[in-house]
Amino acid sequence: METLFACCIGFLTACGVFLMLRGRTFPVVLGLTMLSYAVNLFIFSSGRLTLRGAAVLGTAEQYADPLPQALVLTAIVIGFAMTAFLVILAIRARADLGNDHVDGKLPDAANMKKESR
């Protein structure tokens, strides 16, 4: 199971990184969201995987590690705040600058061929 879990984390990371390297704001936001999933799963997995062991006293014999769970819980909420902030920043940037490129300006025609967006 751990192998599969690690593969998922690795793949999510790779997808997130690839999207983050795109030139437009929206894919970058998607990439960051994807990367947050991967990071949350990674931190969560540092408590090791446990089946049927929710850390509610009296419900199981072997409890899952509650500490990474508490950390990830706040990370999810803060991750939402960060994504929201980034999205709004992207909207504001587009409104102020007239395009949605991450550098705030479109690569000019001469550089178009060399420097992709």
């Binding site: 999933y37 939402f80 709004i88």
Partner: protein, 931 residues
């Protein structure tokens, strides 16, 4: 304590000229002279002790862990230098009073001068290496200010910059050397370092630290090949040249050689580096001095040459040579400072320093001429003057060294050659300026200077003569005490008498005098030869190389920082790959020995779904709505994974955050293009895929290695104490609101700040409102569907009830403030979507910023309340109550804290989404005053 005052008085003295700036010039100069005069008296008060061979020490602990203490240490060497600094400093103050014109800001000059004096005294009196270095840098900075005193002249600015660059760079090397010495010895205390000769010299770092140390000394003391800054520093006012560039600052490097002589000298490397540098400097300086037409230029090169001579003496490694070096420090300071001042007088009273114009000044200023001639004769090494004595000692030492093995005879020969040139340029100084016909093209008629301007010169020249005739009587004790400090032990027998009989050193002196005269007489041929050589301008080539260096730095910077986020990300991720990947390479196997769980069909199916959805998001990322749908599937799968692996709280949170995020991104797409144009060319895509897969592989491997390792956790503490200490059975929630409540408080604060930031960003946004979607289709005519509005309306009370339930059970079962807050927010958002902003606003007119603030205050208040019961911040309390109808109920202060979390989450989420949603309506947030 008196030792500290020797240092503090000149520092306070820097303020005196500023305070007395309004007084007349003489009064200002007099006031400025008082603090250093007192310092000199304090110094002389200790003279008896020091000359008896003892040393004094003042210690004040400062930062003991860094080895940084204030240590002032007065021994023979420090005493000698302090005497020079304060004594000549006082003469300079008097001299500058007459030298500076009405237009120059005299208070500014004096303030800089006193600052420099403090820094210089700091160097010689420091008993701690780091403290010494601090003052060392201060001399560079204050001398920069002094050289650039006439900052309106480009020449002064450039010269000052050059001096600062060279000596500053040397200072950095010196710092490195000191740090290395501190590492090797284990202390920065000077006395400990000086007593650790063997430890330092046998350490493998010795060559490195010696080279760094010498770089510091040689740059400061203008040794070849760093000598070029000194002639260019002559753009400074002449009092500065006389003080800094003959008597004090350039001697700081020499001082350091002498100071560390016991600890660092005595090795082969020291001999070679120090003596050969000194020899080269001695020769080059003496030769070039002859060809300078500028009076100060001649003196500058002559200074370089004499500094080389002293360096050579310290490099020879015999005790007698070191004594001769100390003696020449005294002598050079007296005759060179007086010569500079004489040159200043000539410049001041005749308007030129060019020896081609200045001729025959004898008839105009006979007294100054006499003084200058005596000093120049001392410089040339004429008998009965002080320069002769130390030069004799120098010659004698060159005959007794064995530096170059069988070729050692070359050194006395070269020393004689240098002395020949020294005589020649001294003769040129005397003959060209004071005799040799009539002045040519001077703008004013030369005359004698004001009476008191000549006093400093007279004092110093008198010293030259007195030392020259009665050496043992005048400087015997001082020289002995200083030499004892340099040698840190027995001072060898030496004789200071004028006449040693007819011997080889005397013959060398005679030869030098004769040869010098011969060269001076035939100088025309030598000048022609020198003129035929290509001209080398040190200043310009220095500046152009600095410019080239700066330009290449700029190119590197532009390459790194070209304004492209994608490029920065690439660098960052590449660094991650290297830094995180390297340790993995040295790992034999990823598997850490922990038994894996079995894969069941549900998990496998979930994983496949997750992978497919993630892949689909990437593939279709240009079709933004589709990508959004796909990523929501990923989020769903993640929350299911949390459920499977025993984290119900996480699953609930992830699920509700997922809903909110998707709504947010949907709204955002209203304002952003719906499609991403195809742009990246194939090579870029290949590059990005390879970086992404490398990062993915590393993170995946790390994760696998982590998960398969056996582990011990601190969570047992939480599990044991959750019920007894926190009063709840849901350990995750108890951790959030109780054990780690302070973290949670910080986190909801971040949430609140982010939402306020968003609110601010959306205020007065110059937005364009599309009337159709990306493909040109108009938006739906029916703004709010009847079905949705009816359902959502009836759903609201239900949803609120659910969230209340989730909230209250949170302490014991999965749930809690975070999740309840998100559920409430989603329910309210649904009303916005179904009914529109106007409808909601009419029924629930709340400013969400206030809600955020209230939530934070509740959480904070719960924490502060513990103080009322004399408990630490955020201590929780709980008890059980029997309430009629409801039965036994547990009330915990953690519930109140969780309420704060709940309110903050509701407020922030609504503030974010509602603000963005309102953008599509007439209720967009604007500044009130702009309406």
């Amino acid at each position: 304590m008196t030792l500290l005052w020797i240092l503090l008085l000149p520092l306070l003295g820097a303020l005196v000229p500023v305070i007395t700036a309004k007084w007349n010039r003489s009064a200002c100069a007099l006031a400025t002279a008082i603090p250093p005069a007192f310092a000199l008296m304090l110094l002389l008060y200790h003279a008896e002790t020091i000359l008896a061979g003892e040393s004094l020490r003042f210690f004040w602990q400062w930062v003991p862990l860094l080895g940084l203490d204030v240590v002032i240490r007065l021994d023979g060497l420090a005493f000698l230098f302090s005497l020079l600094i304060l004594g000549i400093g006082l003469l300079i103050i008097l001299y500058a009073r007459y030298y500076l014109s009405e237009r120059d800001s005299m208070p500014r000059f004096y303030a800089y001068l006193m600052l420099f004096m403090t820094a210089m005294l700091g160097i010689v009196l420091s008993g701690n290496l780091l403290q010494l270095w601090l003052f060392w840098e201060l001399t560079s900075i204050s001398s920069f200010l002094l050289i650039s005193f006439w900052w309106h002249k480009a020449e002064a600015r450039r010269g000052a910059r050059m001096a600062l660059t060279v000596t500053g760079a040397g200072g950095l090397a010196l710092l490195a050397a000191f740090l290395l010495i501190g590492e090797v010895v284990g202390s920065y205390d000077l006395e400990v370092v000086l007593a650790s000769t063997d430890i330092i010299q046998q350490h493998s770092w010795y060559p490195l630290l010696l080279v760094l140390f010498l770089l510091g000394c040689f740059t400061k003391s203008a040794q070849f090949p760093f000598h070029f800054w000194l002639p260019n520093a002559m753009a400074a006012p002449t009092p500065v040249s006389a003080y800094l560039h003959s008597a004090t600052m350039v001697k700081a490097g020499i001082f350091l050689l002498a100071r560390f002589y016991p600890a660092l000298s005595g090795t082969e490397l020291w001999f070679i580096l120090v003596s050969l540098t000194g020899l080269a400097t001695l020769l080059i300086g003496a030769y070039l001095a002859l060809f300078k037409h500028d009076l100060k230029g001649l003196l500058a090169y002559s200074t370089i040459s004499h500094l080389g001579l002293i360096t050579l003496l310290f490099g020879m490694g015999s005790d007698l040579a070191a004594v001769a070096g100390v003696f020449h420090i005294i002598n050079h300071a007296t005759f060179k400072a007086s010569l500079f001042m004489a040159a200043g007088i000539i410049d001041h009273e005749s308007g030129s320093r060019d020896m081609r114009k200045l001729n025959g000044l004898w008839q105009f200023m006979p007294i100054t001429a006499t003084l200058a001639m005596v000093a120049a004769a001392a410089m040339a090494g004429v008998p009965l003057l002080n320069g002769f004595l130390s030069k004799e000692m120098f010659f004698a030492e060159t005959l007794h060294q064995h530096l170059l093995g069988s070729l050692s005879w070359v050194i006395p020969v070269l020393a004689t050659v240098a002395a020949v040139f020294s005589v020649a340029y001294s003769m040129r100084f005397i003959h060209d300026v004071f005799f040799n016909g009539q002045p040519k093209g001077l703008t004013k008629t030369p005359h004698e200077p004001p009476r008191y301007m000549r006093v400093p010169v007279e004092v110093l020249v008198a010293l030259c003569i007195l030392v020259g005739i009665f050496p043992g009587y005048i400087v015997g004790d001082l020289l002995h005490a200083a030499s004892a400090a340099v040698l840190a032990g027995e001072v060898p027998q030496y004789s200071l008498s004028i006449w040693h009989g007819i011997n080889l050193p005397l013959m060398m002196s005679v030869l030098a005098l004769a040869g010098g005269t011969l060269i001076y007489v035939n100088r025309k041929h030598l000048f022609d030869f020198q003129n035929s050589l290509p001209d080398f301008d040190a200043l310009n080539s220095f500046e152009s190389s600095i410019k080239k260096f700066a330009a290449s730095c700029n190119r590197l910077y532009d390459w790194l920082d070209n304004g492209s986020l994608q490029r920065y990300m690439t660098f960052l991720l590449f660094a991650f790959v290297v830094l995180a990947g390297m340790p993995l390479l040295s790992l034999d196997t990823l598997w850490g020995g922990r038994q894996e769980l079995a894969v069941d069909a549900v998990n496998a199916a979930g994983a496949v779904m997750l992978l497919l959805a993630a892949f689909a998001t990437v593939i279709w990322h240009r079709k933004r709505v589709v990508a959004l749908l796909m990523i929501s599937v990923v989020g769903l799968m993640v929350s299911i994974a949390f459920t499977r692996f025993s984290a119900p709280d996480l699953a609930l949170t992830q699920l509700s955050v997922e809903v909110v995020t998707i709504i947010l991104l949907m709204l955002a797409l209203f304002f952003l293009p719906h499609k991403t144009p195809k742009q990246s060319e194939a090579s870029r895509v290949v590059r990005d895929i390879s970086i992404a897969s490398m990062v993915g592989v590393i993170v995946g491997s790390l994760s696998y290695a982590l998960m398969t390792r056996p582990f011990s956790t601190i969570s047992d503490f939480f599990i044991t104490n959750a019920k007894t200490g926190g009063g709840g059975t849901n350990v995750v929630n108890v951790i959030l609101v109780d054990f780690r409540g302070f973290d949670t408080l910080g986190e909801i604060t971040v949430l609140g700040i982010a939402s306020l930031g968003i609110f601010k960003l959306l205020t007065r946004i110059p937005l364009f409102k599309p009337s159709s979607d990306g493909d040109g289709r108009p938006w739906a005519i029916e703004r709010h569907s009847l079905l949705l509005s009816t359902v959502s309306q009836s759903l609201l009370p239900l949803a609120i009830m659910v969230s209340v339930y989730i909230f209250f059970r949170g302490h014991n079962l999965p749930g809690g403030g975070f999740i309840a807050g998100l559920v409430t927010a989603v329910a309210i958002i649904l009303q916005y979507i179904a009914q529109g902003v106007d409808w909601v606003k009419a029924r629930m007119n709340v400013e969400y910023q206030r809600v955020v603030a209230v939530g934070l205050l509740i959480a904070l208040g719960t924490g502060v309340a513990s103080w009322l019961f004399n408990r630490p911040f955020l201590t929780s309390w709980f008890d059980y109550f029997d309430i009629p109808l409801l039965g036994k109920i547990e009330l915990a202060s953690a519930i109140a804290f969780d309420l704060g979390v709940y309110v903050t989450v509701v407020g922030s989420t609504l503030l974010i989404l509602a603000s963005l949603g309102k953008m599509t309506t007439s209720h967009r947030p604007v500044h009130k005053d702009t309406i």
